[in-house]
Amino acid sequence: MSDEIDDLSFPNAVITRLMNEALDGSTTTISKEARTAMSRAALTFILYISTTANQYATNAKRKTVTVQDIFKALQTNQFDMLIEPLQQALKDYQEQIRKKTKKQQNQSESTVENNDEDDNNELEAE
C-alpha cells in the first residue's frame, strides 16, 4: 500500500503553488519535508472525505458517489465552511461544460449545413 501511496504524490510545483497562495506574499520559504508532508495530508484528506461520502451512497443503496454525498461528508467532518463556495464553483463549472457542449454541437451542426450548401453549388456549376 505504501508503494501505491508514494506513486500517488502530487506534482511538487502544484503543492508549492497552493501553499504559497496561503502564505500571501510573505518571504517564507517552504522546506521539502513540509511539502512532502502537505502532499501526504492532502491524500489523507481525499481518502477521508471520499470514504465517508461512499458510506452515504451505500446507505442510500446507490453505487455512485454524488456531489451531495461529498457535501454531506464535508459537513460531517467539520468542513462546513467549504460547502457554500464549492456549491457556487460547481454551478460555474457545470455552466462552463454546458456552454462548451453547446458550442461543439453548434459547430458540428453548422459544418453539416455548410456541406449541404457546397453540394448545391457543385450542381449549379455543372
Binding site: R17, L23, T28, A34, A41, I46, T66, L82, P85, L86
Partner: protein, 94 residues
C-alpha cells in the same frame, strides 16, 4: 488575508490545479468506492486545494510563534496536534 470563499470563487473561474486523474486514483485506493461522478471528483479536488491552503495558514501561524522564516513539517504537525479539525491526520505520517 483572502478567505476560503474568495480563494474558491477565483479558482472556479481559473479552474483547478491538482490533476483530477490523480485525485480519482487516490479515491480508488479504497476498494469499497466503486463509482464516483465526475462532478464529485471536481468538487473534492477544489476542497482539497482549499484544505491545503487552510493547513498551510495554520502551519504558518505555528511557524511565526517560534520566530522562524522557514515553514517546516514540524509546524504542520504542530497545527495538526492543536486543531481538532485535523485529528483525522493523526498517524498518517508514520
Amino acid at each position: 488575508m483572502t478567505s476560503s470563499n474568495d480563494q474558491i470563487k477565483s479558482t472556479s473561474i481559473r479552474s483547478y490545479q491538482l490533476p483530477l486523474t490523480k485525485v480519482k486514483s487516490i479515491i480508488k485506493l479504497d476498494n469499497n468506492t466503486r463509482m464516483i461522478s465526475q462532478d464529485s471528483v471536481y468538487v473534492l479536488t477544489l476542497a482539497t486545494e482549499e484544505f491545503i491552503r487552510m493547513l498551510t495558514r495554520d502551519a504558518h501561524n505555528s511557524m511565526k510563534q517560534c520566530a522562524s522564516k522557514r515553514l517546516d513539517r514540524l509546524h504542520i504537525f504542530s497545527s495538526i496536534n492543536t486543531n481538532p479539525l485535523y485529528e483525522f491526520l493523526d498517524g498518517s505520517f508514520d
